[in-house]
């Protein structure tokens, strides 16, 4: 009952910390692969020059020549090709360079094309080869926001988790699932979990559930300086973690440090081997007194826990 109460208090604190950290940190802007910070306001601004509604083949209206058409701002970081007839468009050289640089920085997994055909602009999409109101017309494929890699490999170490290697899935930047297996120095186990990152990085909250098969813990006990015991011959447990933490990095590599409370439960085996041997009773009785534990006790431990690890997103 006390443990349940502790968990409730902890989860309440967890929500409180998240709420506080939201006001503390403010809005954390997204980052594009080129390192540019993209805010919601920036996206709105970019929509003024390159409309996100522009479908494939749709020609955009005139835009000032000195307006840099930023594929990133428009969600066009995945550039497959870009051709700019810079010679024909005075002032468009900067735009072309910017696009080509972004093409190098971006990932070529889309088929979004930006073309500046100042010389071939159709009627209605005027482009003045001379003058200050030079227009750049862009033909864009369907616009999609920059997608973070979804699948990753995660490794972490902690107590009571042990060493765990997992497959991580990040369907959204604020949510991460993981499932994997590992070892704790006694036996092999598994773990699955969910992590919420309300800002995509920074503060996080995790809930995890795992377990370890029975194993002989005497070797570890000796390593740690304790004596051996028959009770340690079969040590296995299941556990849950409720963690708060910090996650650093947001795109390819994420390092995290999580801490909180864990509840472990399992059975204690071979207890009969350690209960006192039959003893002589008081002087008035000739017999002996013996204690036997026919059924293995159930045990539960509530303890602070911590783990650190990293995630490498590969796809």
């Amino acid at each position: 009952m006390r443990s349940t109460l502790k968990m409730v208090v902890f989860l309440g604190s967890l929500l409180g910390v998240l709420a506080a950290s939201r006001s503390l940190l403010g809005r954390v802007p997204d980052r594009d692969p080129a390192g540019q910070i993209r805010s919601d306001a920036g996206a709105e601004d970019s929509a003024k020059s390159v409309s996100p509604d522009a479908g494939a083949g749709q020609m955009l209206g005139p835009a000032p020549a000195n307006t840099h058409v930023s594929p990133v701002d428009a969600g066009l970081s995945d550039i497959a090709a870009a051709s700019v007839h810079a010679d024909a468009i005075p002032g468009a050289r900067d735009t072309a360079d910017s696009i080509l640089q972004l093409q190098d920085a971006g990932e070529a997994d889309g088929e979004q094309i930006i073309q500046s055909h100042a010389a071939d602009l159709p009627v209605g999409a005027e482009s003045s080869k001379q003058g200050e109101d030079m227009s750049v017309a862009a033909t864009v494929a369907p616009v999609s926001p920059k997608r973070l890699p979804i699948f990753g490999l995660m490794a972490d170490i902690g107590v009571p988790d042990g060493f765990i290697g997992s497959l991580a899935i990040r369907p959204w930047k604020w949510l991460r699932f993981c499932a994997g297996g590992g070892a704790n120095g006694i036996s092999y186990g598994w773990r699955t979990g969910i992590t919420l990152l309300p800002f995509g990085q920074g503060p996080s909250a995790s809930l995890e559930y795992g377990g370890y098969l029975d194993g002989d813990a005497n070797a570890m006990a000796k390593t740690l300086g304790f004596g051996s015991s028959p009770v340690l011959q079969r040590i296995g447990y299941q556990y849950t973690n409720a963690h708060l933490g910090l996650d650093f990095g947001s795109r390819r590599f994420v390092f995290f440090l999580h801490g909180g409370v864990s509840v472990l439960w399992g059975q204690i085996h071979n207890l009969n081997a350690v209960v006192p041997a039959p003893t002589a009773s008081d002087a008035s009785v000739t017999g002996t007194t013996q204690m036997v534990v026919p059924q293995d006790p159930n045990a539960r431990v509530v303890t602070p826990s911590v783990k650190l690890g990293f995630v490498v997103y590969v796809r």
Binding site: L244, G259, T279, V285, Q290, N298, A299, R300
Partner: protein, 177 residues
């Protein structure tokens, strides 16, 4: 930004420090058996009839020290008396009562189990005394010594006879570090 992020660490540390480790264990079945409890015979009765004898034994800290140091809740569910020492059966017992007391705490006794032989009871080498609900003996258990007494009534043998007495316990142990 980094400073702001790291400002959360003290909050995390405070949360972690507020959760002290605790251990809980549920022991659904623990048996303590007194082997070879000698019951006095009832010789020289003027005429055949029922007699009552009482014998006791002590559960001391030496056998339960590992549990006594913890914050335990201890219950007794059942008491079983089994014939021993060549005694064929316990059919001569009409009634039995098992009580517990802790002289260092109180002289009052707690009834653990009782038995009354029914008319159509079959011959058996053991008798079981139960209670509708488990008896909380936590206070008695925490004492250095808990004295268990067995009182039997019936047409008892003239010679001393021997039984084994088994008490079935359950318990919950909690320990805060």
């Amino acid at each position: 930004m980094a400073l702001r992020l790291f400002s959360i660490i003290p909050v995390l540390a405070a949360l972690a420090s507020g959760c002290s480790p605790s251990f809980e264990a549920s022991l659904p079945d623990v048996e303590i058996t007194q082997h070879g409890l000698v019951m006095a015979g009832a010789p020289g009765l003027p005429q055949p009839g029922e007699a009552t004898v009482t014998s006791s034994f002590t559960i001391s800290s030496s056998i339960a020290a590992w549990a006594k140091r913890m914050n335990s809740k201890v219950f007794i569910h059942q008491a079983t008396v089994t014939a021993s020492g060549g005694l064929p059966n316990l059919d001569f017992i009409k009634s039995a009562l098992v009580t517990a007391t802790a002289p260092s705490i109180s002289q009052s006794t707690t009834e653990i189990a009782s038995y009354a032989r029914s008319v159509d009871a079959q011959s058996s080498s053991s008798i079981e005394g139960t209670r509708p609900a488990p008896i909380d003996v936590t206070r008695l258990w925490s004492a250095d010594q808990m004295v268990i007494s067995l009182r039997v009534t019936g047409q008892l043998p003239e010679q001393d006879w021997i039984v084994d007495v088994t008490l079935k316990f359950s318990g919950d142990i909690t320990y805060d570090f």
